[in-house]
Every structure is written in structure tokens, then in C-alpha cells.
Subunit: 181 residues, 4 copies
């Protein structure tokens, strides 16, 4: 088992747990991310189940690279909500300014974990804002989700890429699990 006396900064389990908890506290359910994946992939794989979508979301969320981007983005959202960023960054993040771009940069680091085939899905979903993305993107003058809406779209895009890879492997190998996760 894990050794809790290790330095906190090097405890991967705590990083993973914090990621789960922060997503939940910011109002994002895994089920909702799974629905974005289903939205993106249903046309290509009519038999796709929500269980498969959720499994891919879990695998994306298990990557350290992804966890780091999620924690960093949510942190900046929270600080902007509390008015604690320095000007002019406070105004930029609070207002989700169109020329900012660092939210997209962090999100692409998530998409990249399953490769460049996810770029299209990320951009599409980030523009159309289906499901949970619509809710995250609503401005009520209080909640800030400048990073989180892009991040959630990126998780869904990466999970979709993973499904595309696995469906191909299933087709070729007739049920034998691919090992390239």
C-alpha cells in the first residue's frame, strides 16, 4: 500500500483525489462528461454505451498530465471568483476575455494525451457548448468557469479519441483488449 509519510507533493493518489473532488465541488459530474463523449461519438459507433464513455472519461482523468491541467485551471477560476488575481489578469479571467487563450492552451495539453485526432472534437464542442458546457458557460456575474468549460470539453475530446482507438482495435482483434490504452 501507499506510504502516507511521503512528501505531499509527490503523492499521486492525493493529486488524483483532489482532481475528483475539485471537479465535483465545481459542479461537474462525470456522467455529464460521459454525455459529451456520447454526443461526439454516437454517430460513428451507434452501439456505444454510456458505460464505455464513462470508462474512457475515467482513464483520461487518471493521467497525471490531465490532473495537473485540471487543478491549475480550476485554481485560477476560483481565485478569479474571489477577486484575488492581480489586475489586469483578474479582469481577463473573470470576464473570460476572448483574446486570453491560456484556457485553450491548458486544454490542448489534455487533448494531446490521446493524440491530435482529438483537436477537431475539442474545437467543435468548445464552440457548440452542448450539455454541461452550456451551463458552465452561462455568466451570472458570480461563478467563473473560464478554464473549466474548456477543460471539460478537452476531457470529453480526449475520451472520444481513446474510444476511436479502442473501437478500431476491437474491430481488428475481435474483442482482444488493445494494450496501447
Amino acid at each position: 500500500m501507499e506510504d502516507d509519510t511521503l512528501e505531499y507533493s509527490l503523492n499521486s493518489r492525493k493529486v488524483a483525489e483532489a482532481t475528483e473532488e475539485w471537479l465535483r465541488r465545481r459542479g461537474v459530474q462525470k456522467q455529464e462528461i460521459g454525455e459529451l463523449v456520447m454526443h461526439l461519438q454516437r454517430t460513428y459507433y451507434p452501439e456505444l454505451t454510456m458505460e464505455e464513455c464513462l470508462e474512457s472519461v475515467e482513464r483520461v482523468l487518471s493521467k497525471r498530465e490531465v490532473q495537473n491541467a485540471i487543478l491549475t485551471g480550476i485554481q485560477l477560476d476560483i481565485l478569479a471568483e474571489q477577486g484575488k488575481l492581480l489586475p489586469p489578469l483578474q479582469d481577463i479571467v473573470f470576464n473570460d476575455e476572448g483574446l486570453y487563450g491560456c484556457d485553450e492552451v491548458l486544454s490542448m495539453a489534455i487533448v494531446n494525451v490521446y493524440g491530435s485526432i482529438g483537436y477537431t472534437n475539442f474545437g467543435y464542442i468548445d464552440k457548440m457548448k452542448p450539455g454541461v458546457l452550456k451551463r458552465l458557460n452561462e455568466k451570472n456575474g458570480k461563478d467563473v468557469h473560464t478554464f473549466l468549460d474548456d477543460i471539460v470539453g478537452a476531457i470529453a475530446a480526449a475520451a472520444s479519441s481513446r474510444i476511436a482507438h479502442r473501437k478500431q482495435a476491437e474491430k481488428e482483434k475481435q474483442g482482444i483488449q488493445p494494450d496501447d490504452d
Copy 2:
């Protein structure tokens, strides 16, 4: 004036001219790319003119990074059309295989020239395939535009980012040209 006795590989004018010519030979009019830009930006800037769209397309096309990606992508399309790539790459490019991804990778190098704010527009247009992208994406068993459709979308996305930056500058400076091109 330019010195034509320079080594060909280092003659930027010829690289620029080849880019123009190859796009034309592959059936892409700048006007059509301008229409993609208009499609992407009209909602945000109702006063946007086609002239401004075309000017931004020209500026994107003047970048060496962009020219390199265009020439490389079109070259691979042409070779696939002629059946001259080695298997299995021949089949991958000829069939625009979903798991390939190198077309998206080269395209993002184009988008990046005007920054990460173009990622969303690239993905959106690459999914929706409006205008010229629809034509390029039609499979007739003969023409191959595996790279070119993504590349044209990327040029339009980069030109849109440039417009977003300039419109902001115009708004702030009331007509004074920004110098960050």
C-alpha cells in the same frame, strides 16, 4: 531587389510563390478561404468586409511557417493521389484514415501562428466542413485532400484570430493600426 543567384532552398520569394501556385492548382481560391473566415467571424463583427477577410488570409499565407506546412501537406496529398507513398502510408493518406492525425498536427502549426485562440475555430470548421471544405472532403476515389482540407480550415482559423486581435486594437485605438500583426 532579390538576388536570383541565391541557393534555391533559401529563396523565400519562391517558397511564397510555390505556396500560392500549389493552392491554386489544388483548386483552392483565396476567395473561398475568405468566405470561411467570414462564416466564422460574421456573428462577432457584423460590419466585417470580405476585403478584411482576404487581407487576413494574405497575411497568414505570407508566414513562412504556414507556407512550409501547406507545401508539405499538399505534397503528401499529391503523392497519395499518384499512388507513390509506401504502404501502409499510401492507404492511410489515400483513405483519410480517422486515426492518422498528422494532418491535424501540421494544421495546428498554422493555427498557432496567431495563437491558441484559434483552436476552437479550427476544430469547429473542421467538423462542420462549410463551403470549400465540403468540396475538398468529398471522396471521388481519385482526388486526395487529406491534408488540404485541414490546412484550409487552419488558414481560415488563423485569419480569424488575426481579425479578433485587430478588431480589439481598432476598438481601443480608434483606427490606429496595431503593430503586432
Copy 3:
């Protein structure tokens, strides 16, 4: 002149000024970034002057994409110094943890502004830590420059790419200014 009654979040001049000021407050002189550029490019262009290096640094710093990445990275460094990030992100950023990666992600957004030819220079300088990068990277248990050291290296790498493009243009056009900045 500029209209100060515009919304703060859309005032490009203030974003540019804040970038200058934050770099200065965090102890980074433009001269030091210029020295990194000189270090990277001297071998290729023995006649390169510090004035040219500094001019390229200025141009890189004038890009909005670059300013956004600088402000965001320095903000996270400052908050980590003050112990104000949420655990485990606080420990990750404070300790400049090797598996973090968001610092490299933001830095690549800076490098990308002058294209992929800067990737090599960025990685090289980020590993060798010459000049100011060595100082920024020294841990004294108090100052945090997890983002800033990568960012400064990225600015130098981007400025080097700009010089490579311009030197080529000078060689071809014998003094006529290239317009691709």
C-alpha cells in the same frame, strides 16, 4: 490616444504595461533575456548585436498571447510563494515538481508565436539554464519561479526564432525589411 473609459479587461496597453512591470518586480531584466538570445544565436550570426537581440525580445513581449502566458505564470508563482494555492497544487508549484508540466505548456504557447523552429532552443536552454535561468532556478525555500524560469527561456527562444527569420530575409533582400515580423 487611448480611451481609458473602456472596460479594463479589454485595455491592451494595461496588459502590456502589467507584463513589463511584473517581469521587473520578479527580478528579470530585459537585458538578461537579450543575453540568453545572444547565447543561443551568436554561433550562427557572429555579427549579431545586443541591440538586435533586445529588439526581438521587445517584439516577442509585445504579443498579447505572450503577455497572457507571462501574467498567468507569474501569478501562479506569486500565489505559491504566499502559500495561497490549494493543496496539492500548492506543493506541486512550490516544489517545481518534475511531473507537473503546466509550466512547459504555457511556455510553448510563447515559443509558438514565432513557430516550431524555436522548440529546440527552448528545450536546450531550459536544460542548460544559462545566465538568468540559473538564478531563477535556485531554490532558497522562499522565492518560487516554477513558471518564470520556463517563461523567460521561452521568450528567448521565440526571440531567437524571430532573428533567424529576419537574418534570412536580410540575406535575401539585402537590407529591405521583411514584412512577416
Copy 4:
């Protein structure tokens, strides 16, 4: 077992086999890539074995994204050797022109498979050209490795990132295999 009657373009095994064969034909031994990994990681993990380095190289090479980039890059190298690219691309690739950049772009797609922490190692090794990279980079007026030298460096950088993730996991879990590969 696999079904050889599937469309060739969708046969992942053949893509994997072609990647192995093309690397071998172009004179790159996996052992040599393993040595680059050892060169990059020895300082951090003095106990690191060549077996571990080779295992990580194998895992990087098993990724479809990586295979696609390798095949595409080697294809362009071969065509440039044969003088079959269209001018000016022929001269650009044949001469490994400094402002080209598409080689770096494809290489970063390889590095990204194990995340942004590999950017530094890629740039460093691409600049220093240790071991096999020195040989690939020697110009003899005949062989062209414009893409391959960057690609081999990228494989080594990605394999190094994988090792960094696994060593951390081993340290925390005392031997239990991490499942994030």
C-alpha cells in the same frame, strides 16, 4: 488472431510492423534509441537499466500516433533522397533548412504522447545530437534524415517522460505497477 482480410488501411499490426521495418532500414537500432534515453535519465535514476530504457522505447513505438509520425517523416526523407519532391520543398527537405519546422512539428506530436514534461529533453537532445543523432545529422550529400533525426530524439524524449512517471509510481507504490502507462 488478426483478420488479414480487413482493409489494409485499418490494419494496426501492419502499421506497427512497417514502423519497425522502416526504422531498421533507415539504420536506426532500438538499442541506439535506448542509449539516448539512458543518456537523458541516468543522472536522475542511477540504477536505471538499459532493459527499462528499451521497454519504454517499445511502449512509445507501440502508439499509433507515434507510428504515423514516424512513417510520414521517413517517407518525406526518402522522397527527398530520391529527388522526388516538388521544388522548392525538395530543396528545403534535402538541405534540412533551418526555417522549415515541419520536422519539429511532427516530432512534438510524438513527445506529446507522454506529456509536456518531455519538451525540455527533446530540445536538449535535438541541440546536442548525442549518439545516433550525430550520425543521422551528418550530411554526406546523399542520405537525408531531416525528419528522422528529430523523430528519433522525440522517441527518446517520450520514453524518458514515461520513465519519469513510472519511477515516481514505483517510489510511491513500492513496486506495484502503475496503470497509467
